[in-house]
């Protein structure tokens, strides 16, 4: 992982690393906060995986290994910023205040959304690879028109980087100098496809060809991700235009619970990356430099445990929606065909009645 290009502020062992352009601005409490976020989101992720195994979720997309990338980016956002995720950004959703149970509604298969995107300023999950990046640019064009000092952050993967929509979003962001930051989590796999199939050179190199800067950051180093993303967002807010941040990281788990990664990658690779665990390195820093006590770590673990327990309860309480709800919010107002079909469903008796 010795890579000249990679912005790193913390070594895998948790030692500070000097960087000519970036340094960590965070004090003890803030770093502890990032640590707490990462521990919690990992615990939520593990709970979700076991809920899926127990048949309580239709699917789960694990985040393990990518906690630093997501928490670093998520915490770099200012409250008024807006973020556009794909389907795996549970860590970002957590930072935005989305209740964990809301993150799981999609995976419980009781909704296609899950939370109020305007309330949390975090858009709904986007499954079609890359679609959301254009929404982010459009939203950012709205921010420009409002004369607001806000930035937009959008997430996509190494796989999605090949989609026309993502590439068009680069064109547009550059053309309009839109206040948007593209955050690519290069977790090195798109299901079974290695990122080398998408690009033989580091993905962040794409940005300069479109006329804006690209930065590659150690995606397992939460301090570096935080600083790099924060600076990019700040630049966007004051008219500096877009930045592409490539967070170089690794998907430790399966693509989703439906996936069997042993079919396409070797254990040794996973083991190497386990040793670059994003949580352990911050913990080492906290213990050594900030003298955080074991009891503090324990308390955080317990908090995560409680959240996981509550999450489990909340998920189990999510019943099957009344089928009649499928007709809600398709259109803003009356639609004769919808009305007729709603009536038909009620007559068939498969619904409890109008929602």
């Amino acid at each position: 992982m010795i890579d000249e290009e990679l912005v790193q502020l913390l070594s895998p062992e948790g030692e500070r690393v000097a960087h000519p352009e970036y340094e960590s601005s965070l004090g003890s409490n803030e770093v502890l906060g990032l640590y707490r976020d990462m521990v919690i989101i990992r615990r939520i992720c593990n709970e979700s995986t076991s809920l899926q195994r127990q048949g309580q979720l239709a699917l789960w997309a694990p985040v393990q290994g990518q906690e630093a990338a997501q928490i670093g980016a998520g915490r770099a956002l200012a409250p008024m910023d807006f973020s556009f995720p794909s389907y795996r950004e549970h860590g970002v959703a957590w930072c935005r205040g989305v209740p964990p149970e809301d993150m799981l509604r999609v995976f419980r298969a009781v909704t296609t959304g899950g939370w109020d995107p305007q309330k949390y300023r975090h858009s709904v999950p986007t499954v079609v690879l890359g679609n959301q990046t254009l929404h982010a640019v459009g939203y950012a064009m709205g921010v420009q028109r409002d004369g607001a000092e806000e930035a937009v952050l959008t997430f996509f993967g190494d796989g999605a980087s090949s989609q026309g929509d993502v590439l068009e979003s680069f064109v547009w962001a550059a053309s309009f100098n839109a206040p948007v930051v593209f955050f690519c989590q290069n977790n090195q796999w798109g299901i079974s496809t290695p990122s080398s199939v998408q690009s033989k050179i580091p993905l962040y190199h794409r940005a300069p060809g479109f006329g804006f800067p690209g930065v590659r950051v150690d995606g397992n180093d939460v301090l570096a991700v935080y600083e790099v993303t924060k600076r990019a967002l700040e630049s966007a807010r004051v008219g500096g235009g877009p930045t592409l941040v490539e967070a170089y990281t690794y998907r430790i788990g399966a693509h989703t619970t439906s996936d069997d990664p042993t079919r396409y990658r070797i254990d040794a690779e996973v083991e190497v990356w386990k040793h670059r665990d994003p949580i352990e390195r911050v913990k080492a820093l906290l213990a050594r430099e900030f003298k955080v006590k074991t009891t503090t770590f324990d308390e955080i673990a317990q908090e995560a445990e409680r959240l996981a327990l509550k999450l489990r309860e909340d998920v189990l309480a999510m019943g099957r929606p009344d089928p009649i709800t499928m007709f809600d919010n398709v259109y803003a107002d009356a639609h004769p065909l919808i009305d007729e079909e709603r009536r038909e469903m009620i007559e068939l008796g498969v619904s409890g009645g109008p929602s």
Binding site: T112, P117, Q118, V137, G138, Y139, G142, W172
Partner: protein
């Protein structure tokens, strides 16, 4: 009542202008719509008057035009996207079907997909390939969208405003071959609701239905038929999705016979939908099966022979003859 005569192109231009004056959140975006005023000049002068921030000359990529309009909608803007020609809407198909049509639902009603996709459609202008298609059918098949088409300057003026005001995404199909035809526009009162079909000419023998540029062809056919003693009732479908079956069924209950006319190929078309649904609604009143007259099931042909492809008066009257020939 202030009425004035203008072309459909001018009526659209005036309708857009009025919508922009009324609501500062209304934006226009598309290829060449600014300085040039669009290849059909529909947005002529609007960038000059409303500025480059509200009339946006886009880079050339339709998926991005629609995709960024979605983001603007989330931010509270209402963007009218101009797709330069029908055949260039397909790069945006994914954004339209997977996002525009579904985001209100996915966000549980939090997002308003207030955007209009303007689509100069249908043939008849002697253009090269991809400039004469009828993609409205794809959008009518897509749950979550609304699809309308104007056939007169008055409708153009009002329907574009109604579409912009509506909280659902509207695919707005403009019959480009009628852009330069003139008609009366009532500047004070809209003629009717955006989703209402309209009887354009009363008759009692056969109901003929169509939308966009086809309506005028139907009226011509009705005139010819009248000379031959056959009385056609002409319905301007106007709203392709949802379809106003009440108005249509009322007519067919009366005439007992109908012909649905369209430029798109026949398979799984709006005409198919009209025939299927009206057959069910009016089964006992039908004296003949409903018949479709469509574009042929081939790629839109080179324009030297487009007149043989597009339903014309002859083909419509031929179909009228066929439904009149049936005896129940």
């Amino acid at each position: 009542m202030a009425t004035t005569t203008m072309t459909m192109a001018k009526a659209l231009n005036e309708g857009l202008r009025r919508a922009m004056e009324k609501n500062p959140k209304v934006l226009l975006m598309g290829e060449d719509i600014g300085r040039l005023g669009g290849v059909f000049r529909i947005t002529d002068g609007l960038q000059k008057d409303f500025g480059e921030d509200r009339v946006i000359d886009a880079p050339l990529a339709e998926s991005a035009i629609v995709g960024t309009a979605v983001g603007l909608a989330i931010r509270g803007y209402r963007t009218v996207c101009e797709i330069q020609f029908d055949g260039f809407v397909y790069p945006a198909f994914d954004q339209i079907v997977s996002q525009v049509a579904k985001l209100r639902k996915r966000s549980d009603g939090v997002y308003t997909m207030g955007l209009v996709i303007r689509l100069p459609f249908q043939g008849g202008i002697g253009a090269i390939e991809h400039h004469s298609e009828s993609p409205e059918v794809y959008f009518a098949q897509t749950a979550g969208l609304r699809v309308v088409s104007c056939s007169t300057p008055n409708d153009a003026y009002w329907m574009i405003q109604q579409s912009i005001e509506h909280d659902d995404p509207v695919v707005f199909c403009e019959p480009k071959s009628r852009y330069w035809e003139k008609g009366e526009v009532d500047l004070d009162n809209p003629p009717q609701g955006l989703f209402d079909a309209v009887v354009r000419r009363e008759g009692h023998d056969v109901t003929v239905l169509g939308y966009g540029s086809t309506v005028k062809t139907l009226l011509r056919a009705a005139q010819t038929a009248a000379n031959e003693g056959v009385s056609l009732e002409v319905i301007d479908v106007r709203s392709v999705s949802p379809l106003d079956f009440e108005t249509m069924a009322r007519s067919v209950e009366k005439t007992g016979r109908f012909v649905a006319v369209q430029e798109s190929p026949q398979t799984a078309s709006i005409g198919s939908e009209i025939v299927a649904e009206l057959t069910q609604r009016c089964f006992y009143s039908l004296r003949a099966p409903g018949v479709r007259v469509s574009g042929y099931s081939v790629p839109y042909p080179p324009s030297r022979i487009e007149d043989a492809y597009r339903p014309n008066v002859d083909r419509i009257l031929d179909a009228v003859d066929r439904v009149m020939g049936f005896e129940s």
